[in-house]
């Protein structure tokens, strides 16, 4: 546990009871309000013959700095409007969540300026030649700044990794046909279920063999098997883990997640995996949504630029999303509920009384997934009257592409924030045994994930299409 920045009890707000206040006190709901708000606005504009295109500006491909400079000179009002829109929307949400606007505003100015530079860098026509993939640049730049230069901790108010990725996932729902969710979802759930259970059992079993506490074993296992840091903190609470258990699990998850951001796209590239297959593998074997999207976007950006990779960039992101969000994230409430029952009825009794409640499955449900599904339904309903050719000519440029561009911004804010908030020297000391136990699960997870994605269900993931 770190004692950095700890204040006295009186400095923190008292707990509020559950209820409607969750709609404005949890970031999942704010991701829905923001993401769906953008999608609904885009849909209304589209149906009225207009588009979000003007404000969804991104730097275009360029080959000389003069070209890039000319683009910014011509379009600076659009960037300014976009910056102000993000600032206001995120500012309202984060203020409602309890962050201070005075800390958020300078942080977001810094984040936006860096994001412009990173996205522009990725659009250089030689970027692929030097592997300058925006997600990797964002992560590397963020890590460099936070670990070498250092920024005031107060600025973390604007570096909200999870909030940006959840908003991006809701926007992503608008680009993913709901028919594809229905068609590919069951296979994603089956594959993710197999790998999650195997990974959990391996980490849990090895942890016990190494003499670790059952509650730490469960927290580590859930972190590796389900949804990384989110699962670790959820299961730590469900099993009444000791307060040092969650930071240990979080440290191991972060270390492996960051390694996998680089390793999984690299291995996929060396093996020339089709776009959808690589997305499914990354979705099965990465440990956190934000890290996984960084890896999936990186590989998706290689498609079409590197010889021997079949498919489209969209297939990588779609397969990853189906596997990670639908196949793994959705089930965290059930994992927590089952482990709470086991902890309170089978493991050693602690001094605390508690009765596991099935309603916990809903309380812990990652609500942003609702926004993702609704966004998919909205755009699928609008698109249903169009042929594929008409969709590509009319719906895609006016409705889907601008939302996708705004998603790109949200994702880059997230990737940069990962680096800016990951300070290695401040992470808890995980210890050798927890690290070994978790690593054994990583080995099983990566191999099993590859076998299922690239061999058993390869035909399925190769052919994801609209």
């Amino acid at each position: 546990m770190s004692d950095v920045g700890i204040q006295s009890t009186q400095d923190f707000a008292r707990p509020a009871s559950r209820g409607w206040h969750e709609l404005w006190r949890k970031e999942d709901w704010w991701a829905i309000w923001l993401g769906l708000g953008i999608v609904v606005l885009g849909a209304v504009l589209f149906l009225d013959g207009a588009s979000l295109k003007w404000i969804a500006v991104t730097p275009p491909k360029w080959s000389s700095l003069a070209q890039l400079g000319a683009h910014f000179a011509d379009n600076y009002p659009r960037y300014l409007a976009q910056f102000l829109a993000w600032l206001v929307l995120f500012g309202i949400a984060l203020t409602a969540l309890g962050h201070r606007p005075r800390a958020f505003i300078p942080a977001f100015v810094f984040l936006y300026v860096c994001s412009v530079l990173i996205i522009a860098g990725g659009q250089w026509d030689q970027a692929n030649r030097y592997n300058l993939e925006p997600p990797l640049i964002a992560l590397a730049v963020g890590l460099l700044i936070s670990n070498v230069i250092g920024l005031p901790r107060a600025l973390d108010a604007g570096f909200r990794v999870e909030f940006y990725i959840k908003t991006g996932i809701v926007l992503l729902g608008a680009t993913l046909p709901f028919t594809l969710v229905l068609w590919a979802g069951p296979v994603a759930i089956l594959q993710a279920g197999i790998v999650s259970i195997a990974t959990f059992l391996v980490i849990y079993g090895v942890s016990l063999r190494l003499g670790l506490d059952r509650r730490l074993a469960a927290t580590l296992g859930a972190g590796g098997a389900v949804c990384g840091v989110s699962a670790a903190i959820a299961v730590a609470g469900a099993v009444n883990a000791k307060k040092e258990h969650a930071p240990i699990a979080i440290t191991t998850v972060i270390l492996w997640a960051i390694v996998m951001i680089f390793v999984l796209p690299l291995l996929s590239r060396l093996l020339h995996l089709p776009a959808g297959v690589a997305g499914a593998w990354i979705g099965t074997s990465e440990f956190a949504d934000a890290a996984g999207f960084a890896a999936a976007e990186t590989y998706g950006n290689l498609v079409g630029h590197v010889d021997g990779i079949a498919g489209t960039g969209d297939q990588t992101v779609w397969a990853f999303t189906l596997m990670k969000v639908v196949g793994r994230d959705l089930w965290i409430g059930i994992w927590a509920f089952i482990l709470a029952i086991v902890a309170t009825t089978r493991w050693e009794r602690v001094e605390l009384g508690r009765k596991p409640d099935p309603a916990e499955i809903w309380w812990r449900f990652p609500k942003f997934v609702i926004g993702f599904v609704v966004a998919s339904l909205i755009v699928t309903a609008i698109s249903s009257g169009y042929t594929l050719a008409e969709f590509n000519k009319v719906v895609n440029p006016a409705l889907v592409a601008p939302i996708k561009d705004l998603r790109t911004w949200a994702f880059i804010f997230c990737f940069l924030s990962i680096g800016l908030t990951t300070r290695f020297r401040e992470l808890a000391q995980a210890g050798t045994k927890p690290f070994l136990a978790f690593s054994s699960g990583v080995a099983v997870n990566v191999v099993l994930g590859f076998v299922l994605s690239a061999i058993v269900f390869a035909a399925h993931w190769e052919h994801l299409t609209r």
Binding site: R14, S17, K26, F163, S230, I250, A257
Partner: protein
């Protein structure tokens, strides 16, 4: 452990701390690839008395009412 006659759960206990800012401050790395503001955390927090992550709906014999909670009716505290 039997349920206490009064519903004095961790939510209203002085030992229970579930403010997201506090949890992110004491739990290094939580904000890097996760968040204390997320739905998956539910209402869990840290019990300073037992040194454990606990649910707001848990209870124990060491319950100490918060000053502001002590003045409220039990039903209001739920």
């Amino acid at each position: 452990m039997a349920a206490p006659s009064r519903p004095d759960t961790c939510r209203d206990c002085r030992h229970f701390r579930d403010d997201p800012a506090y949890l992110e401050a004491v739990c290094s790395g939580l904000a890097s690839l996760g968040s204390a503001y997320a739905s998956v955390r539910g209402e869990d927090g840290i019990c300073d008395h037992h040194g454990r992550y606990v649910s707001a709906r848990a209870w124990c014999d060491a319950f100490l009412p918060r000053l502001e909670a002590a003045d409220r009716k039990p039903d209001d505290a739920r």
